[in-house]
């Protein structure tokens, strides 16, 4: 089976870029960028800092208002705001752990979920575990900011088992990637 090799793709891109760019032209471009830097508008950044995200109940989605941080085998667990499928936590795995014999997909769709304990938003990668039959336990389908296939990274229906030995869907994890603000 043809596998998606991110390393090879990146290497190819970098080599191509390097082939087209001389060291002198790179230094020249960096110089221009440094000189022009003060002209770059800083306003949007300042505005973003000034406008703190509204985490009041009125600004939260229905999911975020009832999310909890205690039980990752329930669909209401805060990180599952856009998950679709069987929870690996109920299938012998964990929140970021694939059950024995299955394999995590290296690519995934993502969600931005709010932790109710600190009110902060985090980027969550919903990585499928692949290579075994559907686990069928703890089926959830949460849809905060979930869109359609034209924005695939925000769609939770796609089978994301790319670059794995088997493309059979087993269950979904919710890996914390980092803060989203």
């Amino acid at each position: 089976m043809k596998k998606f090799d991110a390393d090879a793709v990146c290497e190819k891109l970098l080599r191509k870029q390097a082939g087209r760019t001389s060291r002198r032209s790179l230094i020249s471009r960096l110089g221009i960028a440094l000189v022009a830097a003060p002209v770059f508008p800083l306003l949007p950044v300042s505005r973003a800092e000034a406008a703190k995200p509204d985490r009041s109940p009125e600004a939260k989605t229905a999911f975020a208002r009832s999310a909890q941080t205690e039980d990752d085998t329930e669909c209401t667990y805060w990180r599952y705001c856009a998950i679709d499928g069987a929870l690996c936590s109920c299938c012998g795995g964990g929140i970021h752990t694939c059950p024995a014999g299955s394999e995590p997909s290296p690519v995934s769709w993502v969600g931005t979920c709010i932790n109710p304990d600190n009110g902060k938003a985090y980027l969550i990668a919903y990585r499928d575990c692949c290579g075994k039959p559907m686990c069928n336990q703890c089926l959830c389908d949460n849809t905060d900011r979930e869109t359609q296939l034209y924005t695939p990274q925000l769609n939770n229906d796609i089978i994301w088992c790319f670059g794995t030995q088997s493309m059979q869907y087993h269950c979904s994890t919710a890996v914390l990637v980092g803060g989203a603000e």
């Binding site: 089976m1 939260k60 229905a62 905060d144 359609q148 296939l149 034209y150 924005t151 925000l154 796609i158």
Partner: protein, 396 residues
């Protein structure tokens, strides 16, 4: 296959050779040749054939883990047969009515081994496999009809691919061979565009149009007209062949129409809720309203120009919630003309293209219901009808 008459001869011969101990049974053997007083004649096994696709038929996918697409006659509620379709496959119906095309992916060793992507061609009357057309790849996702569409004349098949690069595979269905892959980054939901090629919705809010997909495959983008992340359009669009117009519904219930062509023209949207006498629905949390939603939220009857939309009460981002009512929208008049209450929430809706349309809805338990398109009256209820996406011949 063994014929019954040969088998009967064998039994009689065996009994005749069995000796006096079996006389009582052997005496029965000649009676089998006599005419049965109840008119029950010996039978031969045979195989049915069915008619070519009919305007009153529904095609219902089994669901996530149930293979096959069942064909139901809407009038009688009876099953006509099953088209062999594997998990995560997509079906398209030959407009000439001769074939069912299944775009599917299988592996040489069940859940592993060599991946094989293909369009399997089935005769529409025998439902037997005619041939397979290998293709390089396709998307693995469920619940959508827009990942496999045909040109109006049935010559070309367009199969959406995600590997995870977004592309469309073009298949020549007349020559039964794969032609080429057209890369289409940031776009999905294939829309028929007769005489041009096909179009698609894109994540920058535009519609892309691919002209001459089997040849030069020139891609153009129209102006942005929808908010792909903030108020996405459901991929489950409707299409009016006679008017060559696509009809879209967004998560908040904005209705757009697009006159297809080399440069599709999209109308200014109007609110579905407003068309029913309510305030337009919004994206803000805590604003409870009627929203469109479910897995297959809309179906269109071209004869009446009516769009049938599954609606539920909820907040924004509840776009997969099953529908509690069907709102029937007269698209040209921009008015909701009927609201049909459902006995239980349903996840898919389709409507026939007849002047007196029939509706098919199903729920997650696979229960199927056939309803009168005018009144919503339940005409048939089918247990384990299938929990997946629903199609009709020449459908929306």
């Amino acid at each position: 296959m063994k014929s019954y008459s040969g088998f009967r001869f064998g039994v009689v011969a065996a009994l005749a050779l069995s000796g006096p101990a079996l006389y009582g049974i052997a005496a029965f053997a000649p009676a089998a040749n006599a005419k049965d007083p109840n008119g029950l004649e010996p039978e031969e096994s045979d195989t049915a054939t069915i008619e070519a696709p009919q305007a009153g038929w529904f095609y219902v996918r089994g669901g996530w883990e149930v293979d096959g697409t069942a064909i139901y006659d809407g009038k009688s509620g009876k099953m006509k047969g099953i088209v062999a379709s594997s998990q995560l496959s997509d079906m398209a119906i030959d407009p000439a009515g001769k074939y069912y095309y299944i775009s599917e992916t299988i592996w040489s060793k069940g859940n592993r081994g060599t991946r094989q992507d293909m369009v399997s061609v089935y005769d529409s009357q025998t439902l037997k496999l005619v041939t397979e057309i290998p293709i390089p790849s396709r998307i693995l996702v469920d619940e959508r009809k827009q990942n496999f569409v045909l040109s109006a004349d049935g010559r070309w098949g367009f199969i959406y691919s995600f590997s995870p690069a977004q592309a469309v595979n073009v298949v020549d269905l007349a020559k039964r061979k794969f032609v080429k892959t057209v890369e289409l980054p940031g776009c999905a939901a294939l829309i028929p565009n007769p005489g041009v090629g096909f179009s698609a919705l894109c994540s920058d809010g535009t519609m892309a149009t691919v002209t001459d997909p089997a040849g030069k495959a020139a891609i153009t983008h129209g102006p942005a007209f929808f908010a792909a992340s903030d108020d996405p359009i459901f991929e489950n669009f409707a299409y009016d062949k006679a008017k060559n117009t696509a009809i879209f519904v967004s998560y908040t219930g904005l209705v757009y129409t697009a006159k297809m062509g080399a440069s599709p023209e999209v109308s200014a949207p109007f609110s579905l809720q407003e068309a029913a006498g309510y305030a337009p629905a919004v994206t803000k949390p805590l604003s409870v309203a009627w929203y469109p939603g479910s897995r297959q939220p809309a179906a269109y009857n071209a004869a009446s120009g009516e769009l049938f939309v599954l609606m539920h009460m909820g907040e924004y981002w509840s776009h997969k919630a099953f529908g509690d009512e069907i709102w029937v929208l007269d698209v040209a008049a921009r008015k909701v003309v009927r609201r049909l209450a459902l006995k239980e929430p349903v996840g898919h809706i389709e409507v026939t293209q007849q002047a007196e349309p029939l509706i098919f809805v199903n729920d997650e338990k696979s229960e199927g219901m056939i309803l009168d398109g005018r009144t919503g009256e339940e005409l048939h209820r089918i247990e384990t009808a299938g929990s997946g996406v629903i199609s009709v011949a020449s459908g929306s």
